[in-house]
């Protein structure tokens, strides 16, 4: 929920009881006023009637008058010096409802006869009053509602503008382009504080990022150089004709292991680099072309195992991924599909603009999904020429570049699917 929507909602929620209270207050106030006025009129009427009856009862007639508004009946009750006022509901025949009335009653004495005098006045206006009060209140509330919406819209357009501006910048922030991001000065104190904090944060992050980047590269340099020296010395040693077969074997094994170590180092650095987002998306290489490239590169391996390759590919599939990473992703996935396949097995490749899936037959059982993409989790120790980083790298690429990665095992076929979030 937007902040503005939220504040508006809260505001309206608070206004609701305020308006209700206001309506109630107005209603009681008006009600009282009407009652007071009606009572005054009733008392006035009483006085008029008394004066009239006083003169009209000279000949001592017996009055017996009964109308809803005026009632005069002889009574045995004792005369009362003061009138009583109260509200009553009286049945209205035409409408079949009860209508509110104010009633004045008093036992009076006319020439030694006691009469009960009842005067009534309709309070039918009271209904209208409620209607009017509610209507006015609703109109005011609706007016306020529209007003608040309009004001909020205007506020969001002007006052919140720097905030949204900063937000947009944060969303588009890229680690390797961070130093170019500056959060501008605004006229609002709070936003200035926010932007100042963001500025110092991006500077700090950028510095850390640069440090890590330098560290990774330095580490690579520092480790690769001794490896290069050792490897070159062993390669020269291999040229020595005077060495025995066993000695040459030992040298060769050391030589190969050194290469494995350097490859491992290389891959760990690659993981760090991908994590540091050091491969920006600047172009959209054609995934189909990359796959074709690696299919021809691995041609011998495919032929050696007599694998059946089944392709379902669109003419082109531009993927928003750095070309180097596209190469790594395809070679790792295709390489695995070949490496873990059996003789006369099959590989299914499906590619379009948003999905890349590769299935292969294998003697390996289903792999627990949580193990699959972990570093150094080798599925089968008989494959020595594996460093257990291939899928971890693919996973890292997927995580860092918002690709979805799925693994599925069905009918002896392992399927890995990569889906780009920018699907068309």
């Amino acid at each position: 929920m937007k902040l503005l929507t939220k504040t508006t909602l809260y505001f309206l929620l608070i206004m609701l009881p305020v308006f209700a209270a206001g309506a109630f207050y107005l209603y009681t106030k008006f009600n009282k006023e009407i009652k007071y006025e009606t009572d005054e009129e009733l008392v006035n009427d009483k006085l008029q009637w008394m004066r009239y009856l006083d003169t009209a009862s000279v000949n001592n007639p017996v009055f017996r008058i009964s109308t809803p508004e005026f009632n005069l009946q002889p009574t045995e009750k004792a005369a009362q010096s003061k009138h009583k006022l109260k509200g009553v509901n009286i049945y209205q025949e035409p409408e079949n409802t009860y209508a509110p009335f104010r009633q004045l009653s008093q036992v009076i004495t006319l020439h030694n006869n006691n009469y009960e005098l009842v005067l009534r006045k309709s309070l039918i206006e009271k209904d209208d009053l409620i209607k009017n009060v509610v209507f006015v209140m609703l109109a005011a509330f609706a007016g306020l509602f529209l007003f608040v919406l309009l004001i909020n819209w205007l506020i969001s357009k002007s006052v919140w503008k720097p905030f949204y501006h900063s937000l947009e910048k944060i969303q588009r922030l890229q680690l390797n382009k961070m130093e170019a991001t500056v959060f501008d000065h605004t006229v609002t104190h709070e936003f200035n504080q926010l932007n100042a904090a963001l500025n110092s944060m991006t500077t700090r992050i950028h510095n850390d990022y640069t440090n890590i980047k330098e560290l990774t590269e330095d580490a690579a340099h520092e480790m690769q150089t001794p490896l290069a020296i050792a490897q070159s010395k062993l390669e020269l040693l291999l040229q020595d004709d005077t060495l025995s077969e066993a000695q040459l074997q030992s040298i060769l094994i050391s030589y190969d292991e050194l290469q494995r170590l350097s490859k491992l180092n290389h891959n760990l650095l690659l993981l760090a680099k991908i994590e540091n987002q050091q491969y920006p998306v600047t172009e959209q290489p054609d995934l189909c072309a990359v796959i074709e490239k690696y299919l021809s590169l691995f041609e011998e391996l495919i032929r050696e195992k007599d694998l059946i390759i089944h392709k379902e590919m669109t003419d082109s599939a531009p993927w928003p991924l750095h070309p180097a990473l596209t190469d790594i992703m395809v070679s790792n996935l295709l390489g695995n599909a070949i490496k873990y396949n059996y003789q006369n097995g099959r590989i299914d490749i499906r590619v379009n603009a948003s999905t890349f899936s590769i299935s292969n037959t294998s003697e390996l059982p289903e792999i627990p999904a949580d193990m699959l993409f972990q570093r150094f989790k080798k599925q089968n120790t008989s494959y020595t020429n594996s460093n257990g980083l291939g899928l971890a790298i693919v996973k890292k690429i997927a995580d860092s570049y918002r690709l979805q990665l799925h693994y599925n095992f069905e009918n002896g076929e392992h399927t890995i699917t990569v889906i780009t979030a920018f699907s068309h």
Binding site: E217, A220, H221, E222, M223, Q224, T225, L227, A228, I229, A230, Q231, S232, K233, E235, L236, L238, Q239, E245, L248, Q249, I251, L252, Y255, D256, L258, Q259, S262, K263, H266, L269, Y279, Y294, L297, F298, E300, L301, E304, A324, S331, N332, L334, G335, N336, I338, K339, Y383, N385, S386, N387, G390
Partner: protein, 223 residues
């Protein structure tokens, strides 16, 4: 053919020197940026093998200097930094090739060989080894003046062997040369044997001698 090796690690410098000299190149050495600048200003080289990270300066600046001098030397960068920017800026400055440490000496030698061939003869030359003649421009191979048909990989193998003639070339070096960084995806080096077997068969059928010797299971030696 004169090659300048600019590398600050003495042991690695010596290894490169030893391997390249055995293949018939004359090597000169530079241990830091200053020495490198002095050497390239003083002498003409056919090829310069340059490390990027150097004491007193940067290998990329040596390349700039070479270009400033309008040197015709082929340039190969050897760097421990497998950073894309370094690679691109190196190639943009006019380097001919880029090799990440650690590398196989046989691979470096093959690349020096290829660059020299390209630079000095614009590719219009033949490579001769006894009865074998290779015309790189048309990628044709003749044995006793009889043309033989090789696959792309077999052709690459032959060139690599001739460049590293009389040296033991390991299977991993061959695999790295033919398949690049991806060879470890393969799972084994067995498939190299198939290519070598086919190459050997084709050359024998054309009346050539069997130059490819298997060395104690460690690799192969040509010639």
């Amino acid at each position: 053919m004169k090659v300048l090796i600019i590398e600050d690690e003495p042991a690695l410098r010596a290894s490169i020197q030893e391997y390249l000299e055995r293949q018939g190149y004359i090597c000169e050495l530079a241990a830091d940026y200053k020495q490198a600048i002095n050497k390239v200003n003083e002498f003409d080289y056919d090829c310069v093998v340059a490390d990027i990270s150097l004491p007193l300066g940067n290998g990329l600046d040596v390349i700039k200097e070479l270009k400033l001098l309008e040197s015709r030397a082929g340039i190969i960068i050897i760097s421990a930094k497998d950073s894309l920017e370094d690679k691109l800026s190196g190639l943009e400055l006019g380097a001919d090739d880029y090799l990440t440490k650690p590398f196989h000496l046989s691979e470096l030698n093959a690349r020096v060989n290829a660059i020299l061939r390209r630079k000095n003869f614009d590719g219009n030359t033949t490579i001769n080894f006894s009865e074998i003649t290779i015309k790189p421009a048309s990628k044709t191979v003749l044995v006793h003046n009889k043309s033989i048909t090789l696959t792309g990989k077999e052709y690459q193998l032959l060139l690599y062997f001739i460049a590293n003639q009389h040296r033991v070339v390991t299977k991993s070096a061959l695999a790295g040369h033919l398949w690049g960084d991806e060879y470890d995806q393969a799972g084994s080096y067995d498939f190299i044997y198939t290519h070598i077997k086919n190459l050997r068969k084709k050359m024998l059928e054309a009346g050539g001698e069997d130059y490819i010797k298997t060395v104690y299971g460690t690799g192969y030696r040509f010639g």
